[in-house]
């Protein structure tokens, strides 16, 4: 198996695995956050605006972990430096 095939295979498999495993944690975390927010809303409906605002801020922080994994996977697919290097090398030969 030559280098081009190896790099392509590793990039694609890693990109898929990154986003697949990387979305599990944030999804579970967001589920727990929303569940706790709903139960505290049921207990104290008067502070609904504060709870909702804090919930959104917390969700954004949790979501950013999934965004980091997404960005890594996009880099591997579209802006992969190893792929660009090996293609430039193969074209130069």
């Amino acid at each position: 198996m030559d280098s081009i095939t190896l790099i392509a295979m590793a990039s694609i498999v890693t990109a898929g695995l990154t986003i697949a495993l990387g979305s599990i944690g944030p999804a579970l975390g967001e589920g727990r956050a929303v569940a706790t927010a709903l139960s505290s809303l049921a207990q104290q409906p008067d502070s609904a605006t504060t709870i909702t605002r804090t919930l959104f801020v917390g969700l954004a922080m949790i979501e950013s972990i999934a965004i980091y994994c997404f960005v890594v996977s996009m880099i591997l697919i579209f802006a992969n430096p190893f792929w660009n290097h090996i293609i430039a090398q193969a074209a130069g030969k």
């Binding site: 959104f56 979501e63 960005v71 996009m74 802006a79």
Partner: protein, 231 residues
């Protein structure tokens, strides 16, 4: 597959490129500045006010209330910076309805620039409120061992702000582009509605996080007569 509006070149002269990010950012700036200037040319109090003036008043008082809820007293000092952040990011994602438009916040340069503005603004407001010594002393709270960790947390907060906004905007436009090649009519419309929603939420999150960082930097550490009188 275009990764960001940086790659849309409108005009090129040697090394100087006019790409999509610059053109759309300037268009947004012109809309916000010229629109506000036109509306506030003649301000009324009472029933003669125009609906545009009412719109601006709703927006400004809404942002002021949010800033006050976060814990910043005297929101008028901060509303210039925080309100601009919110309005720019919100308008950038709202205009995706217009065909041919790509949000400039989908490019890492724009979001990095906005995050750097927040990185500079936090010490600026902190020093203005507490003086240079008081602000620098906050870095060695609670003990001096925490100094490197506080510095690292400042930098990673800025990085997280930039990547969060960039990732959300870029993923919205990319999913739309991919779906347009698969199922042309109904599904991309649903996804663009979702993109609008996440754009608005991300605009709110960006400005609220900036407000929270500024609030933690300008927090009063000794009880003052003002805060005692409020209680």
């Amino acid at each position: 597959m275009r990764l960001s509006p940086d790659e849309m070149i409108f005009w090129q002269y040697g090394l100087f490129k006019l790409n999509g990010t610059i053109v759309f950012t300037w268009a947004l700036m012109v809309v916000l500045a010229a629109g506000s200037k036109l509306i506030t040319r003649k301000l009324f109090t009472g029933l003669e006010r125009s609906r545009w003036q009412s719109l601006l008043e709703i927006v400004v008082t809404g942002i002021e209330k949010q800033i006050e809820d976060v814990g910043l007293r005297h929101p008028k000092k901060y509303i210039g910076f925080l309100g601009t952040l919110f309005l720019f990011v919100a308008l950038a994602s709202l205009c995706t309805i217009i065909p041919g438009y790509e949000p400039p916040t989908g490019s890492l340069s724009t979001t990095a620039a906005l995050a750097l503005c927040v990185l500079v603004a936090v010490p600026f407001f902190g020093i203005r409120e507490q003086g240079l010594g008081g602000y620098l002393k906050s870095y060695v709270e609670p003990t001096a061992i925490m100094l490197p960790f506080n510095i690292i947390s400042e930098i990673s907060r800025t990085l997280a702000l930039a990547v969060r906004l960039f990732g959300n905007m870029m993923s919205g436009t990319m999913i739309l582009a991919i779906l347009l090649t698969i199922t042309p009519f109904i599904f991309p419309i649903a996804m663009s509605v979702l993109g609008l929603l996440t754009g608005m939420v991300q605009a709110y999150i960006f400005s609220i996080l900036a407000a929270v960082y500024i609030a933690s930097a300008t927090r009063v550490r000794k009880p003052t007569p003002e805060s005692d009188a409020e209680r």
